[in-house]
Symmetry: none
Subunit: 282 residues, 2 copies
DNA sequence: AGGAAAATGGAATATAAGTTCCATCACGAT
DNA sequence: ATCGTGATGGAACTTATATTCCATTTTCCT
């Protein structure tokens, strides 16, 4: 059996990469060839099979196993896992930024760790909004809300701050809104006033408050156009809705911020205001 | 054999995603369950094996194959390939990513410009929080709030969503809160109950709502410790306050999001909860 | 040049993976 | 209530994958 390393092989891709580069010229010919291939086509290592990779790298399958063992892994699969980790859970864009965040985090007070953790989660979430929200949807939502005489805002529990914000934001922009979910408790009666010439905006995340779902049903039944913000295509709000947005807030220690949702809400408010200005008064 | 589709199944991830979402509610129970899992954990589909995925998705291995076939693929492996493509050949280096981001930005609809603009503003604001907030301040604020019998939350207008969020967040963490600023209009009387063994948290930004300023004066006069979140050292809230945080939300076209404030609020909530847990009950 | 040690290619093997099949179950129509 | 269709769970089967083994070649030292 080939010699194994005394200490355990790297689990992080970057370390592994460094190790391969460092060892490269001490390795025998075929193994060096594999080393070069792994550095050049890391994605292929992550997804390929021993057979397919060996073919493309022009070596024998057994050579790949040897290579992994020479690096201290128990077999090729173990080495492959490291290459896969690199591609996993990568929230597309801000990886580098987040990584530097992680480095800062360690060694701080628990309070500061919370700040860093939530910042990281918030930035990720916002990034995702940018990627996922379709311009057409935003335009359509803005059109609906801009055309409404009154906008009914529906949001309970965690979603309530969002509707409260929109209540404020749309209010300052001269758009009449009615906020459901406040402690008044007469929401149903208020929502009964909504008609086809109004519009409603509902916000709800898992676990969806039954009341919110019920309200949206009522709204739809009254032929009032509905725009929703929710966290999954399978959310009850995503059905029967004129337009809906998917927002996935990353969590930190099981707790979620509202940063991304607030960002979308702000954009929506501005878009509505612009539509109103452009489309003339109604 | 199960029915196959007439036209070929999607090779691009986004199309596949849309297809799954569209078909979701027409699928039988177990297949719908798989559908939800694939949307929620696409990375797992890309890297897992039929065995491991079926275990985590709580279905039989055969169900995964059925799911793939129901979508028109020849088998699970073919569907998996689409999930892998999504992760392959993604540019790693930071600059390239940012560049592609910029390219997306320009030439989009005004609606999308709003999303991009607010996202940028929000991320910048959050990063500033990270830099500016002092760990000692956060610790001290958490200590004050954790020691309080009741936490009084003061926030009007744009700040109201923040206190509403804290009302919810602290509530779920088992901390008694009273929310001022809601439409009830009896805030002053409610705040009169606050004493030295309680604490208050006030949030206010320019232009500072006179009512908020007045409330904080009242609170301080009653010897209730006060934590503030505001946007300038010269804010009326920064004076006479036990601890205060400076949050500057970047604006986009004169409009401000609450992303950074929400992030700080979340961190504060967690920090308080941890202090409570660590420090025993009072 | 001769020999030992290491490296290599390729076949053999054991393991794991994906797929198929069938008995059973749930549900809707008659 | 009964029948029939479709869905489901789980075992059986087939394929392919990673790993091991060994004969052969290469390398390097004396």
């Amino acid at each position: 059996m080939t010699e194994a390393l005394t200490d355990s092989p790297p689990q992080a891709f970057n370390e592994l990469r460094d190790l391969i580069i460092e060892r490269r010229d001490k390795l025998p010919r075929r193994l060096a060839q594999v080393a070069a291939y792994t550095i050049e086509f890391p994605d292929d290592i992550a997804f390929g099979t021993v057979g397919s990779i060996s073919e493309r790298a022009a070596v024998q399958p057994s050579t790949l196993v040897r290579f992994a063992k020479a690096l201290g892994y128990s077999g090729f699969s173990e080495l492959q896992a490291v290459f896969q980790e690199r591609l996993r859970d990568r929230p597309n864009n801000y990886e580098a930024r987040l990584q530097s965040l992680d480095e800062h985090t360690s060694g701080h007070s628990p309070a500061m760790a919370a700040i860093e953790g939530f910042s990281e989660a918030a930035i990720r979430s916002i990034e995702r909004v940018k990627e996922r929200v379709k311009p057409e949807d935003l335009d359509e939502a803005a059109r609906i809300l801009a055309a409404a005489e009154t906008v009914y805002l529906i949001g309970l529990r965690r979603s309530y701050p969002v509707t409260a914000y929109l209540h404020y934001a749309l209010g300052t922009l001269g758009i009449r809104t009615v906020l459901a979910g406040s402690p008044s408790g007469v929401d149903r009666e208020i929502l009964a006033f909504a008609g086809p010439r109004d519009a409603a905006l509902a916000v709800s995340f898992t676990p969806y408050a039954p009341t919110t779902v019920e309200y949206t049903r009522q709204i739809v039944a009254q032929n009032t156009p509905l725009v929703s913000i929710t966290d999954s295509p399978f959310s009850p709000l995503a059905l029967n809705t004129s337009v809906w947005f998917e927002i996935v807030e990353s969590d930190f220690e099981g707790f979620r911020t509202l940063a991304a949702t607030m960002t979308l809400a702000a954009a929506l408010a501005i878009a509505v205001a612009e539509k109103r200005r452009a489309g003339g008064r109604r």
